[in-house]
Subunit: 251 residues, 2 copies
């Protein structure tokens, strides 16, 4: 049987990985090793609400696709869960076939720490100007070379072979970036970014740069300069991993 | 110095209590025991984003009110935090002077469990009809005898002495109840309830009853009957504690 497991969520703990957790559960279910191909390698500490992965179940495994999530969830620790499974074409690949991704970065701005937001929000003790951040973010929309927002160390690894052309590229398309404040919790913000794909630590560097604008270190228009420079040193700092969440992979 | 600490947030863990945690921190800061009066006694497992408490600092303690939260936060474990402190009249009392409270109950409806919502959402594996729930909720708005929605065991303890009249009452006013679905996460719902005050387990029983309507066990108009009966046995089950959060205390 061909089966594709798509959509899941989880948090990468220190030594464990979500992929490892899912593959361990699959091994228990199928009584043999089964590899999965995840859509996105999230860094340690980054959450994923909408991670997806593709896999091929061995021919001798008779589990209906509609039971696969239940079977996985019964065999994984509580901090990883499978939310949806569906059949796909045999040549479907969760990473290769993705045409876009949506990330959400959450942070809160106030002097006092928060017990309730501590696990998945960046806490900044300074105030930010959301209008300036929103204005700065608009400079990133469109198709650009995002070299300035990619961590150099692993840049080569995260370059993507453009379809048709056999070359690595740092060009990506950002469809929208939106900053919104939680109406129930003043000072709690979310930045939603949708793009064709992202370079290594690109979302976190965009957020760190926007926050530099929000706190008044930079003007909103500086964002355009940082982008045009194609130099990581011209952009802002990389925001902490814990605030980032892979919200959705688009096919 | 008179000082009132108002607004805090935290989760009650098994043996520890938020009040105990705050008082232990105050003892360290003041080098003597200081008692606080909380606005609301939340059950074990219930979260509180907007809990408030009043206290009187000893005369010989020279800590400015603006530093009190930082001092508390430095002396409490990560799952409890103080968010705001302000001076109030010496006769202010966090519970007695409260004129209203807002609770938010969070749940999600889908077959698969969720690693990300597991700590503070009720998970129901059946689908619900939000329109029916919203319709049922409207029957509760206004001033009513909410005996049907209060756990009998402790009812006498949670009765409140009405101002002026020296008697216990089960009459409360609900200002609004609103059910909303998270636009980012289909199947994730929040019920926000604002009232003058609440009987023991009243919000959880309202939610349990609304969910009975949402899953089709009851019609929306049954809610009016359950309310009129003034009998706990006529209402629905008590929803689990973990989905409940005290959002705000109104003065």
């Amino acid at each position: 049987m061909q089966s594709g497991e798509r959509a899941g969520e989880g948090t990468v703990a220190s030594a464990r990985t979500v992929q490892g957790e899912v593959e361990r559960a699959l091994r228990k279910i199928c009584l043999q090793p089964v590899r999965i191909a995840g859509a996105s390698r999230t860094d340690a500490g980054v959450h994923a609400r909408g991670q997806t992965a593709s896999l091929t179940l061995p021919d001798d495994v008779q589990i209906p696709t509609s039971y696969l999530c239940m079977a996985l969830n019964s065999n994984m620790l509580k901090d990883v869960s499978a939310t949806k499974a569906e059949d796909v074409d045999a040549d479907f690949h969760a990473q290769r076939d993705a045409v876009g991704k949506i990330y959400v970065y959450s942070f809160f701005s106030r002097r006092e720490r928060s017990s309730m937001l501590r696990r998945d929000h960046w806490h900044m003790r300074f105030p930010v100007d959301p209008a300036a951040m929103q204005k700065a973010a608009q400079h990133l929309i469109g198709t650009h070379d995002f070299t300035s927002f990619a961590t150099q160390l692993k840049l080569i690894q995260s370059k993507r072979i453009e379809e048709g052309k056999n070359e690595l590229t740092t060009i990506r398309t950002i469809k929208h970036i939106e900053l919104s404040e939680d109406p129930r919790i003043p000072g709690r913000f979310m930045i939603e970014v949708e793009g064709s794909g992202f370079l290594y630590q690109m979302v976190r560097t965009i957020v760190g740069s926007l926050v530099d604008v929000g706190r008044g270190y930079r003007s909103p228009d500086w964002m355009a300069e940082a982008l045009a420079a194609k130099d990581r040193r011209k952009a802002g700092p990389t925001a902490p991993a814990l605030g980032l969440c892979l919200q959705k992979v688009i096919y």
